[in-house]
Symmetry: C2
Subunit: 363 residues, 2 copies
């Protein structure tokens, strides 16, 4: 089967680009002696992708319990569920056939973890500047939670999502160093109080790639680097040609007067993520490419997204393609766009679909 | 089972509110003699909801071929697939065990429909001011497409999505009248050329509710009225208390210093739709309610949406609830939020889950 025969809209994954992105991250991590990459599978949500990103069933990160179960069944037994846990979810975690390490920044939750009949383990979530979850490295709570967890303390964990505010590799390196300093300070404080802190985990794709030092850090988490997107390309995580995932769409309308094309990929197929709105180049709801992946003229982009319609606009005359012609849309934010689909149609540079890979959506 | 026992995030549908919204639309349509309501099932994507909205298996509208198949299997045999068709999709349409009427604004597509071995029928899409798909009522193409379709012409169809730019019932009534005038002019032109035009179809929830006249129109399509949302409430489609669908979430973090709560419902559970950004009251990524559906103080809303985290902010001190406490989030755009979930947990005013209804997502 070829891309021309697939029903649209659907998701296309280019295997060659994926492998190149995986190799780039592996090389970046290998710069730091004894640093372990713990791929975040929230972007791919696919065992087939995980087999490439973590071929030896090494440590992985998940963002939902549905992912935890799915990857446990696939053989990945060393997981961190990197979203703050609630006491109500502990039984569901305990039922998973894997070591699903939890994260918390709360004393009551730590008590529930410590008291649970299953041998659950947790990392303390540390805020290194993002201001989302976690406690500051110098908070008295750090030691209190560690004391409650006791031997169930698995380590400390931070996330540097605020690296997304940066715009250069220099910015990324600075955020990475601030994160490293924060998380290793937290680990040092705990160790000084007599706690074992086996895991010191930090991450985000840009900081993983651009960090200058990783001493004191045991592992790095990153996910979006596998596929890339229009936003990450502008952060310097990868080049514009390194976006592995696109949405295949059909032309369903055209207006020479307005210089627009209408595609059958709208808000549900693309997501309504507008992250490039804050980037140097705003791509609307996605950049429009031809069926072979070559950009349409005039920086063509999806300017308006209705539930099932996407309107293409451009700064140059658009080709008035026949209804049914195929185009592809590169996503602003690949995690969200991929989550709108239940499978990948895998190609390797050409139009032949060499595999269909499933995804685990939902919770 | 009660809402307290459900894994979060998940989708909650209040049956009483749904029935009230359905009755309001039925009453609005009944003002116009012989006008038929053809509910659009793109919002609900559920046979259980369709049984209430179209109990006699009457005419319905769908937005994907997945919906067309699913509702055909459920017994709804009179469908309009209200997204411009491509020649490549005709075989898939023909394979569905229902009369799935198509729409087109293209001469080549009309030829493909007319030449297809299955007895396919199509409506001509007419642009009444939205500027998305369709041809103007006075375009010469109208007669040319009708001539090509011949006896396969099922009628004319328009969509008044630009009613969403209005902000008062007066605005809606004006858009409705412009739509009515445009679509009936198109029908009159075709009839004057000797074509039968059995269906004259228009729609959008706000115009269906607020239109003053419907003479010359045979049917009205509307979908989002069933559930409502924060955007439609501000258009006057319904009251703020008439939103039938909410996302049930758990508190996973809290910061008294920043006056924030962190929920386990982020961009994937809520969607990144920001439609209220253009409305008088911007609700961020959703309005935050307590477990019983009562708004939190200070117009609490989801200010930041990460993949799995939603950060609540408010103009008054937020209750620093324990981790695991339940809240609910009312959506900006219910079509997109509901599409992030594969089922509804149905309640009827209280906390008891009286049913679980499935949805048909994807394409």
């Amino acid at each position: 089967m070829t891309l021309d025969e697939l029903p649209t809209p659907c998701l296309v994954l280019d295997l060659g680009v994926l492998k190149r992105n995986l190799a780039a991250m592996q090389a970046a991590v290998a710069r730091h002696p004894s640093l372990v990459l713990r791929p975040h599978l929230k972007t791919a949500k696919s065992r087939d992708v995980a087999r490439l990103a973590s071929p030896d069933f090494g440590p992985v990160t998940v963002s939902t319990l549905a992912e935890a179960r799915y990857f446990a069944e696939g053989g990945w037994r060393d997981q961190i569920y990197a979203v703050g846990i609630t006491p109500q979810k502990l039984d569901a975690v305990a039922a998973i056939d894997a070591e699903v390490k939890l994260i918390t920044d709360d004393l009551d939750v730590a008590r529930a973890i410590a008291a649970h009949s299953a041998p659950l383990h947790a990392l303390i979530e540390v805020d290194v500047g993002e201001g989302r979850g976690g406690i500051p490295p110098d908070s008295p709570l750090l030691g209190e939670i560690a004391a409650v967890l006791g031997t169930r303390l698995a380590g400390v964990l931070s996330h540097s999502g605020h690296s997304y505010n940066g715009r250069s590799t220099e910015d990324m390196a600075e955020v990475a160093e601030a994160e490293r300093a924060g998380i290793t300070a937290a680990a040092a404080r705990l160790r000084a109080s007599g706690h074992a802190v086996p895991i010191v985990s930090l991450g985000s794709s840009p900081t993983a790639l651009h960090a200058r030092r990783m001493d004191g850090v045991t592992e790095v988490r990153a996910g979006v680097y596998m596929f890339g997107d229009l936003f990450q390309a502008q952060l310097g995580t990868h080049g514009i040609e390194d976006i592995a995932v696109t949405v295949l769409a059909s032309v369903i309308g055209r207006s020479p007067v307005r210089n627009t094309l209408l595609l059958d990929s709208g808000a549900l197929a693309l997501s309504k993520d507008r992250s490039t709105q804050a980037a140097p180049k705003d791509w609307g709801f996605g950049r429009v490419l031809d069926a072979a992946g070559v950009p349409l003229p005039g920086e063509a982009f999806i300017a308006r997204a209705y539930q099932e319609h996407g309107e293409v606009q451009a700064a140059a005359p658009l080709p008035m393609l026949p209804i049914g012609a195929r185009l592809r849309v590169a996503p602003n934010h690949t995690c969200l766009t991929a989550a709108a689909h239940d499978r990948y149609h895998v190609v390797d540079g050409g139009a032949e679909v060499i595999a269909v890979w499933d995804r685990v959506n939902g919770w």
